[in-house]
Amino acid sequence: MSSTSAPEAPTALPPVKRRNAELVLTVIAILITMAGIAIAGLNLNGRVPSAMWTVGLTFGALSAVAHVAMRFLAPYADPLIMPCALFLNGIGVAMIWRLNASHEENIEGAGVGMQLVWTAVGLICCFLIIVFLKDPRILQRYTYISALVAIVLLMLPIIPGLGHAVYGAQLWIKIGPFTMQPSEFAKIALVIFLASYLMSKRQVLQIVGKPIKVGRFTLIELPRARDLAPILVGWLLAIGMLVVLRDLGTSLLLFGTFLAMLYVATQRSSWVTIGLVMFAGGATLAYFLFWHVRARVNIWINTFDQEVYEAVGGSQQLVEGLVGMAYGGLFGTGIGGGQAHNTFAADSDFILASIGEELGLTGLLAVLMVLGLLVERGMRIALAATGPFNKLLTSGIAFVLAYQVFIVLGGISRVIPLTGSTTPFMAAGGSALMASWIMMGILLRISDNARRPAPQSIQDEGATQVIRR
């Protein structure tokens, strides 16, 4: 499958369960969540709030059920995935409770909204996948259906009557009392589509090409024009997102994921180069054609300009987030000790800025470490996964996680323009949380399959054997 040159570390993982380690880590995640709520209450009100028990124990019970389910349903799965995800989910719940409490007259009346319900729904989705998607490779059959699903999900919000704009971004749909952000699910459908499409086409994309040489050195290996079709479609989709939906974040996320998976499938950096050039070209064009793109860039560059700050839709939110992080400094103000609740979208897009303010640089680095750990465990699962489809699917999911964190925190901390995106597991909102847990379900299933010990014979002889799975 791989093997280009140097000998690599073994990719197969030993069939160790380590579920007890998972249990210990899960308990720590629960305790941190409860401590977060308790400290928030002490800082805000001088008392340990009852929510430490109501919210904390509800979350604890959900985590406990998840852990027990793991023991039965995916006993060989990577033991770090579930506690890392629960830790992030729990910190998010504690932070959302703390932010809500600041807007309540009596903090005992504060809740976490629907976040716990969505956590439960997310976990159910996760385990439904673990139980019913016995072999994720069957998803290969639905290559173009996945593509269709992804596109339909992306387009849903612009259907009149169904679409629902929140703060100017046309990203939501509204069915009855529920609002959903279908792009969160679209990215999963897209990863599935890409995994199966690239699986079948990768040899063509990998091998055929025309090298352009400077002297003896191959500068770039250009693919055939007709093989450019998929990248062109992906590019058009990304630009379309940018222009029609005005959603820079999703556009960036989808196209980046596409390039990453294309690279994994083909191992050809020329694809990445071509893609980046196309994206840079498209983005530059969009910059000159559309004022909302220009406004974003202006906010990014001239964040601390008085006029940009005071403009409608200007840099105020960004500045407030940065000022909050500056107040947090190295060790933070303590949960509930800061002014994080005054920043717009403090519990969703800006939840990492809230963490930075109240848990300080130390806390934010810790959260990033856990996110990084989750990503790298995902990549590790991809290495050990059986078959190219599973590898593509798993590495795609792991990359989406990392890339999404980069887009959102990079926006908040001015590495890239602020685009508005959700932080996996932490941001308030059902769609994002469900999507994150669905991705974990896929990871855990593939991991469990990969590490499950090989079928063992239960008789000693004969060509036909009875095996136990």
Binding site: M1, S2, S3, T4, E8, T11, E105, A260, Y263, V264, A265, T266, Q267, F304, Q306, Y309, V319, L322, V323, M325, A326, Y327, G328, G329, L330, Q339, N342, G356, G360, L361, L364, L365, L368, L371, G372, V375, E376, M379, R380, A382, L383, P388, K391, L392, S395, A398, F399, A402, Y403, V405, F406, L409, G410, S413, R414, V415
Partner: protein, 485 residues
């Protein structure tokens, strides 16, 4: 396929690593400068929840904080001001997005964050008492301040400024800048937009109500500067009030310098005494005195009164004072005009009040100040300003000579009779400064009583178009009367 996966995982780590480095930069290294950025609006808004100390004039609150939250909700303090625009030039305003005046300079004491309050704050934490800001007591005398402010209001549409100082201490008794504004209009925390709009309107107002003319606007001082010229003549040329100097009806200084007196003569074209030159404000003789002593002598005398402060040592009372200038001139024509307070000579009203106060105080200029004392909420004194000498501008005998000459100004035949107060000897000097436009600035500086000075004043009416005696002297008289009667 594992090689690209490994590379992708390294790339994912790099992405996270970039974020880690960047937030370390922001939260670890840039935190201070971000907090100090003017767009950090927390410094003001977060203090809305803490009671800010009052600013007082003569024991009465002129600025104070009041809780405007409904019962049971977290406290939100609205800053309120009394007196309309009366005290605004000194007191300033404490807005959501900034502060001015004493509200700005004494901010850390008013909000309780100053180091000098650290012990008390620590005690409050232990005893669980709600921390409160300190109260700032100003030197202003409400009667003086009102007399000046109302006199300007009575002029009908003319701008200007007036300063009154206690010559023996330097305490500022009055600091009027007209027009002013009611600080209540720009500090509302319940209607932020209204407050912002009002502030923008003030910023754009051509009458510049936000400018504190008393401290921060320079005008040519005109003939009031002749006091400085006379001081230098006595000090450096050993002149006396009886010393004479050529006083032609016209003096050629590039183009002719006329005499300001009606009829255009000082002493019929004959040499005039210094005393008479001051009394009637003779231009040509005073220009000749300046030329006689030379530019350096004149400039150095002005410096002793407070002009030409070294860079970085500009006066703070604690409000910043714009420096006044009287540079050493070499050109005879320019120097002659400098001797009568024109050409490159420019002074703030406070500076000219310091000139009058210096003469009044036996030649010693006291450092002006507006904050008398800062007291804790339990009234214990945190800081108390003690009078401090700024300089010995002239000798006591020179000051005596100057006083005698200035008394003539308000007496019969003088140029500033409108400043005379019945039964009180008033020393003064008028000024009518050319502005390069049709109109003139009209000045008066002086002090009373001449034999035991309790108040020194400087008044300027911007583009008054009249004479110092006509427009400025009555304002000065009313402010002095508020002290001596």
């Amino acid at each position: 396929m594992n090689t690209p996966i490994r590379r992708l995982s390294v790339f994912a780590l790099i992405l996270i690593g970039i974020l880690m480095l960047n937030i370390t930069w922001i939260q670890g290294f840039q935190a201070d400068s971000i907090r100090a950025d003017p767009l950090n609006r927390r410094t003001y808004s977060e203090r809305l929840s803490e009671p800010r100390g009052p600013i007082q004039v003569a024991g009465e609150n002129v600025a104070f904080s009041e809780n405007v939250s409904p019962e049971g909700e977290p406290a939100r303090y609205q800053r309120e001001y009394t007196g309309g625009g009366l005290y605004t030039p000194i007191v300033g305003s404490f807005r959501t997005y900034g502060a001015s005046g004493v509200e700005d300079t004494e901010n850390t004491l008013l909000d309780g964050s100053d180091d000098r309050l650290a012990v008390r704050n620590f005690r409050d934490i232990i005893t669980g008492r709600e921390p409160e800001g300190a109260q700032v007591q100003l030197t202003l005398d409400p009667e003086v301040q009102e007399a000046g402010y109302e006199a300007f209001a009575g002029l009908g549409g003319k701008n200007g400024a007036a300063v009154a100082i206690d010559p023996s201490t330097g305490a500022v008794l009055g600091a009027v800048s007209y027009p002013s504004y009611d600080a209540n209009e720009v500090v509302s925390i319940t209607d932020l937009e209204d407050a912002t709009n009002n502030y923008v309107a003030l910023e754009n107002d051509p009458a510049k109500p936000l400018l504190n003319r008393a401290l921060n606007e320079r005008y040519p001082p005109g003939s009031t500067f002749k006091v400085v010229t006379a001081a230098a003549a006595i000090e450096t040329l050993d002149a006396s009030p009886d010393s004479t100097m050529d006083a032609p009806d016209r003096l050629s200084l590039g183009h002719d310098l006329p005499n300001a007196t009606p009829g255009g003569t000082c002493n019929g074209g004959q040499p005039d005494t210094l005393a008479h030159s001051i009394q009637i404000s003779c231009n040509t003789s005073m220009a000749n005195w300046a030329i006689e002593m030379g530019g350096t002598a004149l400039s150095e005398q002005a410096t002793k009164f407070g002009f030409n402060p070294p860079e970085g040592e500009e006066l703070e009372i604690p409000l910043g004072v714009t420096p006044s200038f009287a540079p050493p001139e070499e050109d005879r024509n320019i120097l002659g005009r400098a001797g009568i307070g024109q050409s490159n000579v420019e002074a703030t009203p406070l500076q000219m009040a310091m000139v009058a106060a210096g003469v009044a105080n036996g030649g010693e200029v006291m450092r002006p100040y507006v904050v008398d004392a800062v007291r804790d909420s339990d009234l214990s004194v945190i800081t108390q300003t003690s009078p401090e000498s700024y300089s010995q501008a002239v000798s006591a005998s020179t000051a005596q000579d100057l006083t005698e000459m200035m008394v003539l100004v308000t007496g019969e035949g003088g140029s500033g009779t409108n400043a005379a107060i019945p039964n009180v000897q008033v020393a003064g000097k008028t000024g009518t400064a050319e502005t390069g436009t049709e109109s003139t600035h009209n000045w008066f500086i002086g002090f009373a009583p001449a034999d035991d000075p309790q108040v020194a004043v400087a008044v300027v009416v911007e583009f008054g178009g009249g004479s110092g005696n006509e427009l400025a002297a009555p304002i000065a008289r009313q402010m002095m009367e508020a002290v001596v009667q």
